[in-house]
Point group: C2
Chain length 212, copies 2
Amino acid sequence: MSAARSASTARPYHHGDLRRALIDAALSLVTEEQDWTFSLREVARRAGVSHNAPYSHFSEKQDLLIAVAATGFERLRDRMKAAIGRTKAADEALLACAKAYLQFGAENPALYRLMFGPALAASKGGRPAEAREAGATAKVVLAEIILRGARSGLFAVSPDDAKDEAKIVFSAWAAVHGMTMLSLDEFTGAELTIDDLLEGLERTVLKGLIPR
Amino acid sequence: MSAARSASTARPYHHGDLRRALIDAALSLVTEEQDWTFSLREVARRAGVSHNAPYSHFSEKQDLLIAVAATGFERLRDRMKAAIGRTKAADEALLACAKAYLQFGAENPALYRLMFGPALAASKGGRPAEAREAGATAKVVLAEIILRGARSGLFAVSPDDAKDEAKIVFSAWAAVHGMTMLSLDEFTGAELTIDDLLEGLERTVLKGLIPR
DNA sequence: ACCTGAACACCGTTCAAGT
DNA sequence: ACCTGAACACCGTTCAAGT
């Protein structure tokens, strides 16, 4: 309980930004140890505080999980944005985006599982609104590309219908998400690389979107 | 601890088929209470045995979870088989199958989450082979339909290439799975019904598969 | 306002012992 | 072979108390 904060100027009682430190500690457990089944007490230990200090910043464990998941969604969004930044046409962008998405999942299996797993799906009843908003972060990038493709006339979508738009965007997201998740669980059923998966996407979802 | 087995002929010590009873108890917790975060002790309580009796039949909790998930995959397969039994052409069968899949998820959210969640994805390292085999059950039905469509010339797949086949089947499964999972977590982002989701699938995956 | 120590009601798992 | 009771090392959460 003392070695953990022996960095330089030991803060004896108040931590300064314990909230941030707890999120970082949880994030390191998820990304470094690849373990999303961490306990709140372990996070507190990592942050060098007592096991109930977190309750000053999160009313329950799930709130911390949601905060970690939100960081994950931001990272995923950044990866996608960086990937599409190097592209021109919308179909190229969509493919690059899907590839970045699949790679993110492959590189951060535990974080990806946390983002779409227990944190958001409460054991009973509906999931907290905060969790749903965090997840929408990732979808927005896909929506932008698809709308771009629609406006430029490259994709077969009618952009004046909001519900129709939602259907298409959701279909695309679901296809990429499903691939990511199932490949993490080794459900591919064959030795398929990320490029194999992308080719599958191209020949199904993309082919449906692009009428050529 | 006594009321639970006061049915007719009370079996005092040996249960008869405790293994089956434990799986059923867990299944009822998942499907009736819609709670996949049950404890092993609670399952034992439901079955009317001591909290460590399960260890005579399952070496750890995860083994019971896998058994429950396997039952879930069988039910999903049966639902799909029943749905395609009433169809003729392969494209019609694929759509009916996808609809049955989406409905199964919507009706059994907790079971579906268990099937694709914590049980199969161990906190660290690879998932047990037994868990992966159970999951393949569901994919087989999709594979059959797609191969049928390919052989009949209705789908744009070359059936003589096994890897190519795996790519296409996996793409289709991923699309349906992703939709099911994301809609359970209320990530649709709009009020989309199952028929809306199906339409999205039809215009993306199916359109890619069927060259017309 | 933020953190600690002791306490409560749970877990999963193990082990010696009973039938 | 199958089940029980007691025990161990954990949890998440609460509450009164300290700074």
